[in-house]
Symmetry: C2
Subunit: 152 residues, 2 copies
DNA sequence: ATATAACAGTTGACTTTACAACTGTTATAT
DNA sequence: ATATAACAGTTGTAAAGTCAACTGTTATAT
């Protein structure tokens, strides 16, 4: 789905979707570099954040669904986070098919250290918009996501 | 950069950025599946579209910049498209460092066959919005991208 | 005129991701 | 009670991407 500039389609719907597309591409690029400097992969950060703000202990399957990543990837991702001491797996006794994943103290601490720089980045980008615009943008994105869910 | 639902940050800027982020993730997912069914990789489609709608013959370097993909990927990507007969490389006589890439008749034809389904998908998603909303959304995305360019 | 820079493309190592096939565990149906 | 489904996680393969180092070509500087 290309096209920031030239677009002979002259199709307003296409143009709008391309806008979202390219914003996503740029955002990915910025995030990758940011997290590399912070010595985490973006995918690992996503896992840590999901665990931190989850309302309950999550399984790898849960993470797979929340992060929209294939469950097979969670195996290695969690392995890596365990090696760094950020996450632990707890076998569930009632149902030995899955683990409950928990953030360790080190994991939480690591996230806290990261947070200022992370928020600075986020705000540095988003203060492009006024509060009203932000609200409207958020609303648009929610609707767009709901619409796209239909294609899953 | 996670979080569609739970977000204890209570941070409107973060929320808005996450909206863009998740929309991008979903869009990638939908696109990947769509193009798989159409027997092209999304990355190949992007190249074909870029060549088709370019104002002049592009080099691999040009494509790299337009598609925001490392130039090293273009080698294999173009190789693949040449194998399918969709693209040709022409050595530039004046400057033998680069190729001029051109879409073949087969390439153009392939794109044309794809276009209806592609546009149907795009419209199916974007008719979530009224024309005024689309305009505003496009405007937001343009501003967001310009802002994000600063971090490149 | 020649050494040095810059440029386009390629290659190889590595990471990330998706997908399909597999193991082991639990739930369901007959 | 047992066969079948469904489920969670793991493994292996392949595609796609980044990055750094390399080749060959052209531009620049002294």
């Amino acid at each position: 789905m290309p096209f920031n500039s030239v677009n002979r389609f002259e199709d307003a719907e296409h143009e709008a979707l391309m806008g979202v597309w390219w914003s996503g591409v740029l955002l990915r690029q910025i995030a990758r570099r940011f997290f590399r400097d912070q010595t985490v992969a973006e995918s690992q950060f996503n896992v840590l954040m999901a665990l931190r703000y989850a309302e309950r202990a999550l399984s790898q399957q849960d993470l797979s669904e929340r992060l929209l990543v294939d469950k097979s990837n969670l195996t290695g991702l969690i392995d890596g986070l365990m090696k760094r001491g950020f996450v632990r797996r707890f076998r569930e006794k009632r149902d030995r098919r899955f683990y409950r994943l928990k953030l360790t103290g080190e994991g939480a601490e690591f996230l806290e250290k990261l947070e200022p720089a992370y928020l600075e980045l986020v705000h540095g980008i988003m203060n492009e918009f006024t509060p009203e615009e932000r609200t409207r943008l958020t609303e648009y994105m929610v609707r767009l996501q709901r619409r796209m869910e239909q294609w899953k």
